[in-house]
Every structure is written in C-alpha cells, then in structure tokens.
Amino acid sequence: MSTAHPPLAVTGIGLVTPAGHGAGPTWRGVLGAVGTAAPDPALTGLPVVLSCRVPEDSATQAGERRSWQLDRATRFALAAAREAVADAGLDPARWDGARVAVVLGSAAGGVGSYEHAAERLRTLGPAAVSPAALPAFLPNMAAGRIAIEFGTTGPVMHTATACASGATAIHTAALLLRTGACDVALAGGTDAMITPVCVSGFARMKALSRNTDPTRASRPFDADRDGFVIGEGAGFLVLERLADAASRRAAPRALLVGAGTAADAFHPVAPHPDARGLEQAVRLALAEAGAGLGDVDHINAHGTSTPLNDSAEARLIHRLFARRPPSVTSAKGVLGHTMGAAGAIEAALTVLTVQHRLVPGTAGFALPDWDTGGIDLVLDGPRRQRLRLALSTSAGFGGHNTALAFAPAGPSPD
C-alpha cells in the first residue's frame, strides 16, 4: 500500500491500567477478557458503586520522589512514560533533550487534588489549602514533570479533548515529528477521575452504568448497556521517524501510518447520531496512510458501553465497512472508561494487536441490539487475525474525534 505520509515507528509503549502496572499485565488482562470493575469503598454515598481502579503498587505510589506534590494522574503518567522510554531502549541520560517532545493528554488533570483543596477551603479556610495544590492540579503539570524527570527541553505540552485527549496527544506528536520539531516524541494520556465530583457529575447526566454486577456493568455494544464504568490509568507511546529508529537499530513494535482529527460541531456531550466527526477522522487517517476503507482489518473501538456512543459508532462501522467488515473490539469491557487516558491506552493495545496478530475479545458483551448487531465484534477470547491495518478510534465530550491507523512493522503479510 502506498503511503501519503511516511509512517512513524512506535518503538516503545508503557501502560498503567486497572489490569495492572505495565504493558505486559495489561495485555494479559485484556486478552483474558475479565472485567476489572469492583465495588469501590471511596464511592460510598455516591449514586454508583463500581469503578475500575489501578491496583495499589508500591513502585508507582510510595516510591515516587516528591510524591506529595504529585496528583494521582501525574504518578500514573510518570510510571507509564518510564516504561515506554525503557521499552524503546532510550536512555534519557544520553539523549539530546532539546530534540525530545512530551505531549500528554488528560481530560481533567489533577482534579482529585483540586477537589481535595476546595473541600479544605470550604471546611477549614484558606490556610488549610496546601501550597502544592496548584502544581498538583494544573492539567499541564504531568507533562512538565515528565520533562523534568527526563530532561526533555523540546516541545512539552498538554492536550485536552476530554476522552479523546490521549489520542489527540499521539496525533499532535505525529505532527511535531513530521514538521521536524523533534526527533523523539513521548505521547500519551493520563487521568485519575474517580473522584466525588466527577462520579457525581457523570452519574447525574446518566453517563454511568447503574448496574451493580461487576461482570456485567461495563458491556460495550451489548443490548442492555446502560452507561460506562469509570476507570483510571495512563498510556504512553514512543514515536520516532523510521530512519531515526533504524539508525539506532530500534525495532518498532508497529507503525503509526495515519492520524485524523475532526469535530462534530453538534452537541456539547452527545455524539452526532451519524458519527460524522468520527467518520471524518477515520477518512483523514486513512488518507494519511494512503489506504482505503477496504484495507481496514480491525478497529479498536471507543466502545464506551453508553447507549448513544455504541449505537452511533456501530452504525458508522457498519455503514463504512459493509463490504468488508473489520473485526471490532472494545477494551472498556475490561478496563472501564479511563477517560483521557483511554485513547493512548487503546492505541498501545492496538499496537500490540498488530504486533502479535491477536485481537482481544470484548468483555461484558452478551447480546447485540439492532445497531450493534451489524458489526463483527470479537466476543470470546482472542482471535488470531491477519492484520494489514488497524484503527483505534476515540471520541470525547465537546464533539472531539480522533482516529489512529497502525500497521505491522515487519514485511506485509500479503
């Protein structure tokens, strides 16, 4: 397949998710297709009882330098970025930091730290607000912390497109690499939004599942889906131009062959019923890849388990790809909805799917409805599949849509 833009190498990935600390545990968890939703004592008194939490781990929680200054979302991001850099075989002590970019997306930055400070202000007064409140909650601080840790003085920024933030970060990083603004880009997403205000707000707008059965609450594309289960975590990709990766003999896990972004310009929180922004994002990503609709073998869908998203997304996939339906999965059945991290986590999972030619099943799903019955959803256990091109799709409040296209790094299987 000819490419309209030169592909970029994905040389490293890093993950912190409800399925575990690291890409390995997360990949095994997603392949196992067992949901991570569990009753959450921190939600006592709130309208829902389930969440998908990152398991406590001393390596990412207690061992962090200056942890009192770091929001939970920043800790996740630091851990995922470290893993991705190590996975890429890069040594921050030896790289030219001015040529390294950090692009990190999150929907809500350090919202937990903000809520904590606001609660103390209200109950105890201004003297009870920590001087670390701002460095903890400003949304760009996770990107800034990563820059400090790795000595990256190139472009360092935050992207905010709600639940598409992590995918937008990867798209933005690709643009920076293609313009020559950097040689290496650390691109990812993070969020830690299992907080009283976020959970209450999502529940009030009826976005969260009221199902109390942990194995059935998050069920992307299922007929009885009634909302998402809130999750948390972080994901990172290391991106480089192919020639740069080759010159340091780094073997790419996969190639980022295209990326597209488009807005619905329709409704503050509801997806466009025909998913027109998502369709445009998919078409842009494929054009960048020099590929057509018929080249798409697999879609790692946004698939939130909300009635509206999954209907609109399934109808779009059915309409666009009716002639040659790609396999479809949603990781949110296992991981819940990790908010702004989701786009980056699912991009990393799509990289692993392409690399290992293995499509994970969709946990929680039992029966399709009229809309979701039209797609080739992978159900029970992983499916071995020849993959030439796979898409990862993301959408967020505000009508933001991003599609990322990945292809195998090795010789094409056909």
Binding site: R65, R66, W68, A127, S130, P131, P135
Partner: protein, 88 residues
C-alpha cells in the same frame, strides 16, 4: 524523643525525603534539600497535625532550624493548653 520532634523527623524523612543522618536540632531546612514550596508545605503539614498557628512566612525560611521549629510548636501547644477554649 518528644512527640513533636519525633513527628517532625518522620515528616522530614518520609514526606520530604531528607537524609535521616542530616536531621539534628541545628540543621536548617534549606540544608535539608527543602525548597521554598516544600518548606511552606512542611509548615502547612505541621499546622494541620498539631492544630497550632505557625507563621507561613517566618517559620518557613531556609534558615529555620529543626530545633527552632520544635520549640515553636511546643510553645504554641503550651499557650493553647493554657488559654480557655474559645471555640464554644
């Protein structure tokens, strides 16, 4: 060791990562690798724990010593113990 000093040493080593061997009464906060933000956070944490009105500015300068902070907290605790509770 008295409880105020014990709590301060624990805070300095566990939260602020000061090297345990360098913490003694004459050690200044600035010498314990606490920057200005960390010093204000330290005062904030001590106020929170002991419920005493330390001074964000005077008690958080780089030359404030461990011994002086212990004295300040003990003095304030003694004062509040003598004063009638005005919160009722």
């Amino acid at each position: 060791m008295n409880p105020v000093r014990e709590h301060l040493v624990t805070l300095l080593t566990e939260k602020f990562e000061a090297p345990p061997g360098s913490i003694h009464d004459d050690a200044a906060l600035g010498d314990l690798d606490l920057d200005s933000l960390a010093r204000v956070e330290l005062v904030f944490s001590l106020q929170d724990h002991w419920g005493v009105p330390l001074d964000d500015d005077r008690d958080s300068t780089g030359d404030v010593t461990v011994g002086r902070l212990v004295d300040r907290i003990e003095t304030l605790l003694a004062q509040s113990a003598q004063e009638p509770d005005r919160s009722e």
